[in-house]
Symmetry: C2
Subunit: 213 residues, 2 copies
């Protein structure tokens, strides 16, 4: 009996259930979220998909809201990763970094529309209930500010308030992305509605406003 108890726990064949239920619930919830909309995501459906009882998720998430916050946090992490990737791809070229970041922002939003609605749609509280939620968002915004500052020091961007210029750039592409996934761009623009063309056009106009006269 003493030798049996020495066997490492994680090597036992599915002792009760999964090895990483936390992660599995998060993945299943993300998938179900994108399949329908955010209102019809049910904790019980997530549990059924993973194959556990409908009360099992409460071991890993305090709330339904807490699970939603977990999904949103993954989304913000991916957003921050895309932004730093855009910076790396165009060293010394702030305008190119901004264009690249815009395209990646659009691609991420269009690829995960419901997750984006969760991240930006006033579903989670803005206060510090979920501290790690906003952390990645702030990180992404810091990257944006760095791009603006580099452009200013190179003399190609106007020498105005960095935060406001960064916010302007963010607003532009964020607005386009959200209007697009809401179907409002297709309703408004008659001709091509090609995502890449639209992104280039909007970003170019925005850049023209940011650039030094």
């Amino acid at each position: 009996m003493t030798t049996q108890t020495a066997v490492p726990k994680q090597r036992q064949a599915k002792p009760y259930h999964h090895g990483d239920l936390h992660h599995e619930i998060l993945c299943a919830a993300r998938q179900l979220l994108e399949e329908n909309n955010i209102a019809s995501l049910s904790l019980r459906a997530v549990a059924k998909m993973v194959g556990v009882s409908h009360t099992a998720p409460y071991r890993h998430f305090k709330d339904k809201e807490s699970l939603l916050a977990g999904i949103a946090a993954v989304g913000f992490d991916e957003l921050a990763a895309q932004m730093s990737e855009a910076v790396k791809l165009h060293p010394g070229d702030p305008a190119g970094q901004l264009q690249e970041a815009a395209h990646r922002y659009m691609r991420l939003v269009i690829g995960n529309p419901q997750c984006v609605q969760l991240m930006f749609g006033n579903v989670l509280p803005c206060d510090d209930t979920y501290p790690d939620l906003m952390a990645s968002g702030d990180f992404a915004f810091d990257g944006l500010k760095n791009i603006i500052e580099e452009g200013q020091s190179l003399g190609i961007f106007k020498a105005e308030d960095v935060e406001i210029m960064a916010l302007t750039a963010w607003s532009c592409i964020h607005g386009l992305a959200l209007l697009f996934i809401g179907g409002h761009v297709e309703a408004a623009v008659s001709l091509p509605a090609d995502i890449r063309t639209l992104t280039v056009a909007v970003t170019t106009t925005m850049l023209a406003g940011l650039k030094a006269g």
Copy 2:
């Protein structure tokens, strides 16, 4: 008995119930929507607030979704009204019209954040299930295009694609408004976070990009 039946129906003291239950339900739903978030709006709570049974709303709205679409339609109507108001206030001054429209857009979004999330948050289907929903949105966008065209004919805006320029302007202010009500602007911008200042700054930059070189 015959004289009694001649009394107009709407004068009888609350014969069964209200005179305009449709409108009352819509108003109560709007109020409850803004008090909490969109997920926790319940048809039964609306019915209780109005003072009817929880099945009465089904006489006036096919669905919960149909009620939500009704709320969103009111929002789009108000948006369109604000936009045409902005045009009237600054005749012959497209740049001023755009600034005015931006301020009114911001005010409306900040005043009814949950309604805006309903209008633009991928809650309702994009297809023609609710035809009058997008109609007001299109009307507002047409007004925006008219402003751009007037600016082009006056020679103060670039002579590029009107729809894309209008979409750029819309994206800018829409993005700022949605980031603001999501609490992301306060998290990002350190200093004033004054709405009017931000709106002027973002709109000015956007206008600089739209203007002819």
